[in-house]
């Protein structure tokens, strides 16, 4: 008796044994007539589903992918400045991953992302924008977010967050751009945190808020690394953590209003900034594939040699 004959549902097979299953899914045609027919049906399913990419599609993708890889390699080499202390380099790497994940969670639809790497302030940025004006480079939100990533790689974390937030602002309501409500909410929360410290104009970066945002992104990156969080859940988590900053800032502002200090015009971040997930972490953080690796950690798990 097959292992599957006992206590199965009404879907339970009555004629297939595990050996039969291996046969019909195998490369060789089974000898039994009924299994051979069944294997042929399954094989036809494979042929009708698996399309063959055209030569043009292959050429277009390979060119694009090679550009992305080369651009990423240049970025990687460019950020390995010898004057940076190791801990800062590690943090920066995690932040790059986290902001990359933020970019990812916005649901980009496969348009230009990394090839046009010039960020605001770079000599090539003007050229980049000029190309966008004639339709080259697709200067939509994905590109703005990619620029934000470039800013992070350059160590301008808070400016990057503000830049990413502006990308969302500029495209609110543009469904095709792929921004989920969750993503928009998340970046909006970060934008609020950034504005509170006058970060939007790139001046007056507050180191405490910097640390807060860095903490958030660092935490998100760590959770992605561990598989505890899936990309689709990042938005909600960022939003939650960012609100903690906002609440802390509001509390501090309320306190400062009762004890005015004319000498301190900066709104400032909370004294104790939550950088880790709260105790009541959403259940979704561990949903999905707990034993599988996050996609940003390729080769992990069973596939790692």
């Amino acid at each position: 008796m097959s292992d599957f004959d006992v206590n199965d549902t009404d879907m339970a097979p009555r004629s297939l044994t595990p050996q039969d299953v291996e046969l019909v899914l195998g490369r060789e045609v089974p000898e039994q007539d009924n299994l051979a027919r069944f294997a042929s049906v399954l094989n036809s399913l494979h042929h009708t589903r698996a399309t063959i990419p055209t030569d043009e599609a292959v050429a277009a993708f390979s060119t694009r992918a090679a550009e992305i890889v080369r651009a990423n390699r240049i970025h990687s080499f460019g950020t390995q400045a010898p004057t940076k202390p190791p801990t800062q380099a590690i943090l920066r790497k995690r932040l790059v991953g986290a902001v990359g994940a933020t970019v990812l969670l916005t649901g980009m639809t496969g348009v230009a992302v990394a090839a046009d790497a010039a960020a605001p302030g770079d000599p090539l940025y003007g050229l980049d924008r000029a190309m966008e004006s004639v339709g080259v480079g697709d200067g939509g939100s994905p590109e703005r977010l990619a620029e934000a990533q470039s800013l992070v790689e350059g160590g301008q974390l808070t400016a990057a967050i503000a830049h990413a937030a502006r990308a969302v602002d500029a495209n609110s309501g543009t469904d095709k751009q792929g921004f989920s409500p969750e993503a928009a909410e998340a970046v909006e929360a970060l934008r609020s945190a950034a504005e509170r410290a006058d970060l939007a104009d790139g001046e007056g970066d507050d180191p405490k808020v910097n640390d807060s945002i860095a903490g958030i992104l660092n935490q998100i990156a760590a959770m992605l690394d561990s598989g505890e969080l899936q990309p689709s859940e990042i938005g909600a988590r960022i939003s939650e953590l960012a609100r903690e900053i906002g609440r802390g800032g509001a509390d501090e502002k309320a306190n400062s209003s009762t004890e005015p200090d004319p000498g301190n015009e900066s709104p400032g971040p909370p004294a104790e900034t939550p950088v880790g997930p709260p105790d009541d972490a959403p259940a979704g953080a561990s949903a999905g594939s707990p034993s599988g690796p996050p996609e940003d950690v390729p080769g992990a798990g069973a596939g790692r040699p």
């Binding site: 599957f4 199965d8 549902t9 879907m11 097979p13 009555r14 004629s15 297939l16 595990p18 899914l25 009924n34 027919r37 069944f38 399954l42 036809s44 399913l45 494979h46 042929h47 009708t48 589903r49 698996a50 399309t51 063959i52 990419p53 599609a57 292959v58 050429a59 993708f61 390979s62 060119t63 694009r64 992918a65 090679a66 550009e67 992305i68 890889v69 990423n72 390699r73 990687s76 649901g107 639809t109 496969g110 992302v113 792929g178 990309p231 689709s232 999905g288 594939s289 034993s291 599988g292 996609e295 940003d296 950690v297 390729p298 080769g299 798990g301 069973a302 596939g303 790692r304 040699p305």
Partner: protein, 185 residues
């Protein structure tokens, strides 16, 4: 390391170095199964989603370590999660109706075979509707994507034993339905 793995290792290193030919080969080998998997699982625009998957692969390739089998399953992990993201974003359940209207590729291009295959595929599509989402995922990953039990388990985040059980029940249901309809090739 055998010759096949050595060849994959060379391919991977070339892809990491940004060689066009390496990416062309990766895309030519794997884009078809990925598109087929996404289409069979109800992706709204499977070709676009496939492009997203492979662009993500290009962005993340520097961090990949593993052999050819793990590379294939890694790509399907990304595809599977992109599919889930799309479903969440669109707020809909996976459909199998795309089985009827999707682009078809038959190696021989024989009209009679295509007609028979279409009938069979329609039958399969009907039976698929009665399966659970997990059973459909397993069959799509095993048959269309060509993944092993272990790779399918990796993609779906389940144990191999659970995949075997899902697969067995799904195939049993398919075969019974086809036997009852007396569908033959």
């Amino acid at each position: 390391m055998d010759a096949r793995e050595a060849e994959f290792d060379s391919l991977l290193q070339a892809a990491k170095a940004g060689a066009d030919w390496a990416w062309a080969r990766i895309y030519r080998d794997l884009a078809g199964p990925v598109t087929g998997y996404l289409r069979s699982r109800g992706a709204k625009e499977p070709e676009d989603l496939t492009s997203e998957v492979f662009l993500r692969v290009a962005h993340a390739i520097q961090g990949f370590t593993g052999d050819a089998a793990s590379f294939r399953s890694w790509i399907f992990v990304i595809a599977h999660r992109r599919l889930i993201d799309e479903r969440r974003y669109n707020g809909r359940r996976p459909l199998m109706s795309e089985l009827d209207g999707a682009e078809r590729v038959t190696p021989e291009g024989d009209v009679e075979s295509e007609a028979i295959e279409h009938l069979v595929t329609a039958e399969i599509a009907e039976v698929f509707q009665a399966l659970t989402d997990s059973q459909r995922d397993v069959l799509a990953l095993r048959i269309i994507a060509g993944l092993s039990i272990e790779q399918t388990a990796h993609v779906m985040g389940k144990r191999a034993g659970a995949i075997k059980a899902l697969q067995h029940r799904a195939l049993g249901a398919l075969k019974r339905a086809l036997d009852e309809e007396n569908v033959t090739l």
